[in-house]
Subunit: 334 residues, 6 copies
């Protein structure tokens, strides 16, 4: 059973799985080699020390491995660390990824099912086929189901990409008929495909970070390549349609300073951009408020990317009528 | 019966109402004074000339008056003009404003009714009362029903403000439940109130333009004053709630360079900003395409404010499969 | 008698008033509860500990209360803290606000008197009446006399708003006649009213910070509401004049990225903007230099908001003629 | 006697001085050469034609020469032109420059005298000497007295540089004592020297335009060179003082995007920047309003450089109390 | 033989090839239909009129066709037009493209040969193979040889893309060894591939303009797709190398506001960006100066994209020593 | 012999030269005065303590002096410090500057010789003379040989300015003939002179920092003054040529936000800007990678000024073909 780092108590035995985030060696005062580890899971990080059988253990695992650790929690200079007695590399099949990274609160299989159902609504045969080539690609599906949508800003947890994608598709269904002349097939295809490149932009099996590909090319370019790869497999896919779909992907960030070298030029691209931006921002704020709202405060801490703080607009229903902001009142006026 | 300027034909008699857009006098070669007019209606502009009874007629109307004109259409240097025999000022009650300015294609009374019904959904008694103070204000209502939402960019026609306001309220109803924790009362109040200041920012009884107030203060400040004016009439309106509502108005443009000195800081303000921006832009593009899409082209002309052109993403359904863009093909490759 | 935190010495008794900035509880090694306080005054902050009668004392005061503390200064891990024997909440009437916050070096009553005299020079009866409605409003006056002009940038001390307002009014008197055609009444009214909203934008009775209203609406919007509130009390106040006065307030930051959604569009608004900007910046630099000029240096530290350092341009009178900057001289060149 | 172009009437004889702005030759239908001229003065431009003695006349003057023209005003295709009978180059000594370019309305000698008197207030011997080296330089003085301060934006007329310089110096005298710790000598020297480079940045003897030097280096660099040139002539001028003075010149535009590669870093430089900016803008607006305020309008046309229009804030004194903006009022509400 | 439009003279017969740029019909005063054409070639445009056999001719060609025209040049309202007697569509094989568009002054085949030789220097087998897949693709080659590099800014003529590509490759050879540690293979591959997408971004067989693909996706995305298409054909092409090469293409504009969503992150990408930017700008200036340098002037007209004018820095060798800029000299100083 | 701070070991004697970076006094627990020093050299910093003869030693040296220190390395709270027994000020002639600051890896005399040879290629007699006036100025030469090119960004070591200058001159020789019409004399003069002002902008004899002059005026203005100073010594130097040369210096940063108040307006200025920018950036990246590339990583840390990280594009030659990025692969797909 997984014991989380936040649950470990001084002087208790530890027997659980962790991710090796750092690994280095040191010298004791007596000149013996020991191993310094940083062990992590979803709940935090803890130091580990291996004092015995150092060489044997050292060869049996590396940084970024999952390991099965047996040892004891001791306190050193006021901080807990694990004095490791046994350590053993375990394959990914033996662990539960969501023990190590934050994960969507929604059910992944349910979300995927909903998305597949929505994609059934696409009538155009070429777009319909394009989407199903993704659904038939198990290699893709496995990654799409767990990928996060970003490292920091929004849907930054396992399954976040799927959650965000489904959310946009649902928003499309709610909004497309509000205006005349918008093509539902394009909007659905665009919403489902717009962030696919993120399965390669981020790495999320050992740590939540950006991959080399992601940093050098970005998810927009990676996504367009993935789409082109599938389009080649659709016989007679109209070239003009391919251009319009790729334009939806390329332009969905809205403008160059936000990462899209082309502005949205079709009505569908304009709507997709707004829905994507709104969904990312609202989720981003809600995730941020979960951890960055000081207890009892109505103001969040400062959000670096959004360059502002946020205010909790609840509680006014209980306010007394015409309440005065008392603090600035001079005494004699009360 | 109104005869529109576009319908006037050479050598026919003219008997209709027009708006006097310019009025000046000239000298004939014989040294007689005549009047040069520019007459307008919704369909365009035409020159007018008064050669007889010049002084009498000249005193009877001014620029920006509506007039009843009788005369004859003649051609001068290849252009039609009206040789005016009789001209008479008429009050606004005698004319139909929508003959002179473009007007929403939707039914104004229906839209207003829908908006009133939506505002019934506001449960909070203070917000409910605030909205109804506007609905009970006939002076306000009369202007709200015909005001445009802007001069150029979007909903730039009589009734445009009401159309845009209703559209945002409907979008709120479609989207608010997509996220947890958003307050419907605030969103509905914000959507209904956000652009009210435009009834004073623009002048639209003689020409569609910005008023002095509009240019010096803007619709956001004007709107907050209008709301404050009503809030004073609601007994015990909570001050904190008033602040939150005004923040919705103040921040709905999203950031300083778009006219909002404060960014949206509450979740409701964030959603309102995105829905407003999306609605304004999509309507703006659709209005633009009506007049700025060259016949047979898939590309609009250049839109100065949006700094781009737009592309019509229809027609690809009929495209032959895998159509090649033929134009760049060298002959020998065909 | 107030003993300031900077004056407290190890092992001496302490008997003075402080502001409770933080309050939390901890557990001793023996499992007893104690209270951890952060106590502050104008001169700094000091830790406080309550080891006895913890529950009784804990209920008798809260964070942001002023308290009367008796105890002893002891050293813990190299830092002074007060071991509190007695603590008692005191009302605001028992303390001197300026013991807890920095305060203008000028005499507040003298400054107010000067400002009232200047406002006598306003000849237009409507503007004259408008200003005097503020002077007759004791509730307003009490706050106006102590409000700071900002938290960080300039006049960031009790009385700073009054000092800044008077300074602008005096600058107006010095400069208005330098150009033809500027209206003194408008300039004086604008200078006196331009920052009034700051009395609500900032809170300054318990801590110097921005209020909820201030963060959500800003002093410009708050100020315009305050002015509109008084204008309603002036019979027959001309609407065009009200618009011009509000424009002075709205535009005084000069452009959107500095917080004014409208640029100054009248000559008076242009001059008011420059004088306000100059006064804020010069005061801001002078305040900054008081604390951020390393001893013996001619260069200040880096000013984050202004994004630069400042140089003291004095001392050159004593420089020897044609002094060479010696440091870069190679030895053989000397 | 100078006859201005605006005064010329059809069929009258012309005998006056003009500036040759363009000069080219054409062929008559009969194959004869004639000369086409564009002649200008302060009041406008007129075409000129020379049909006789073409070769002789053509060799006797060039473009940008002042000429004495005798001829007759005739009408050709609805426009006046001068049929030239005699034309003769005249030296600059024979003409009055202000007949050809707009000129300050103030007395140049009076302004210069005032500026010299102000420069007497500079106490520091080095700065005092520096300024007087300019006053003793006749070559400099002659140009300084007539140079404009810019081509378009402000003080864009002969004598404008002197007028602007004196204005800044007077503003310094009015404002410097408002703050403690500002050095009057530096402020006066800075105000007098800050724009001197404009005597070379602009050319203004034949046309009001930027010189090659002006376009390639700009008046700030040119001015610093002029000051350095004089500083070399002041024995023992302290190097640190020279740096501070040059910094005043270099930084007076305030920031890089306005042309100053260094921000103002001393208090004197900060004040000089604000006074210069205010003076340039107020004069610029006033000049603009003289020509760009449509008759009877309270709104100027659009000012390209300032990117806005301006509003005339006068006339409200005469407004009826509580005047309503009538135009938006629905009929039934009146 | 091609007769160019600029060579056509009044009353002469015309027998030549043109491009039909516009085609519409009109009614004569007698109510007969006629055709209005705009005919173009490299040298300009001319109106054409077809008065006879209108229906027959009208069906035989369309806008954007090349046509063989026989007719006569007549003058109408001061402008030449061709009264067409015979008109016949001709295929592209019958015309010389460079008669209709400006073309590089260099020899296309020589340039291509040089580029092929340079690409031989690429040692890495994967990159070597990648490049040669392009050289072996005749369909690609035919377009690459004639494509322009842009519509307006630089190398805006047939063959311009090849000329620019070769230029960058040569610059790489001249500069790469100036720094240690730069990889020549990457730099050569990057320089040759960086703008390939322009063969589809622009259309240049009937008019020099941007294609739909070009406007919706841009040459960077189009180029990456072309490269990916060839990479698929190289067995075992290393994925990391593919990423690095694509990054060179993606980042070569340097930053987001110039069209690259990723900044150059490798040393090779940094150098490629600078060489490309320098080459584009220098060619762009030189092309601009050819047409926008007023005769006898040292200053070009204003270049909208570069937002500046350019100065010809020649001629100073012949200047007299210490020449004074005479124009600003007052008379008495000469 | 110099012992570097990084080489000092606990309990060993120290006898070497250091730079005094800080100097202050403290009180021992017994109430005796001691001196606290921060001693530095090229390899780092170390604390020093003087416990004996404090007053005598204290008077014999100051901060920023070079000193000869004898003492012993002891450990205090885990950090090495020198317990100083003897300390003595030494003149600059006794030390080797490069022991205290990082220095170019190239041979300074060789670089200077190369630069002199290149300057021989300048044919224009005025430019040739101008350059040689610098070479004949020993005072200049001594500083030019050791000045760094910047504090942080590039060539930030002794000799860096010379290295950068030579690099640009060599780049000019490699690139100038690539385009027609560029003047080699101007380009060589521009490359050699463009950054000369840095010898005064930075101070680099006691610490590597910006001088007062450098901060207040900047190297561009300082450089133009230095050039003007030499130009005065060249008889009959053409004024137009002087303007063109100064424009090269003034504009070499490319645009206002990068520090050049004028954009490059001549072809030579455009090329000089690109070569300078490329050289600074590539050197800057390479210097940065030396210290900011985590071992074993292909990604540098974040570069604040360039606002990005850099990627090492080597190692792909050894990659297995078509290597998959394994980390994101789900287990079942492997």
């Amino acid at each position: 059973m997984k014991i989380f780092i936040q649950e470990i108590k001084e002087n208790e035995n530890v027997d659980s799985f962790f991710l090796v985030r750092e690994k280095s060696s040191g010298l004791t005062k007596n000149g013996n080699i020991y191993l310094r580890l940083k062990l992590g899971d979803r709940s935090g990080e803890i130091e580990g020390r291996i004092w015995t059988f150092v060489e044997t253990f050292s060869e049996s695992f590396e940084r970024d491995d999952f390991v099965h650790v047996k040892g004891k929690a001791v306190s050193f200079q006021g901080q807990l660390q694990i004095s490791v007695n046994q350590i053993e590399r375990v394959g990914e099949e033996g662990i539960e990824l969501s023990d190590f990274f934050p994960k969507t609160e929604k059910n992944i299989d349910d979300m995927l099912k909903s998305l597949l159902e929505i994609s059934q609504q696409v009538k155009n045969p070429y777009l319909h086929r394009l989407l199903h080539l993704f659904w038939e690609d198990n290699h893709f599906l496995e990654r799409f189901k767990i990928a996060p949508a970003s490292k920091w800003i929004h849907h930054n947890y396992l399954g976040g990409l799927l959650e965000h994608t489904l959310s946009i598709a649902e928003l499309v269904l709610k909004n497309f008929s509000h205006y005349k002349g918008l093509n539902l097939d394009l909007l659905l295809a665009g919403s489902i495909l717009h962030d696919l490149g993120k399965i390669d932009e981020l790495s999320y099996r050992r740590s939540l970070d950006y991959s080399d590909e992601g940093r050098l090319l970005g998810h927009i370019t990676l996504g367009i390549e993935m789409i082109e790869d599938k389009i080649r497999q659709v016989p007679d896919f109209p070239k003009a349609l391919a251009t319009i779909v790729k334009h939806l992907i390329l332009s969905h960030h809205g403008q160059d300073i936000w990462g899209s070298p082309k502005k949205p030029m079709t009505l569908e691209a304009v709507m997709l951009h707004f829905l994507d931006d709104m969904d990312a921002k609202i989720n981003g704020i809600q995730q941020f408020l979960k951890v960055q709202l000081p207890e009892g405060s109505k103001w969040s801490s400062y959000h670096r990317t959004f360059d502002q703080s946020f205010y909790i607009s609840t509680g006014w229903e209980q306010l007394e009528p015409a309440d005065k902001v008392a603090e600035n009142e001079p005494e004699e006026a009360k």
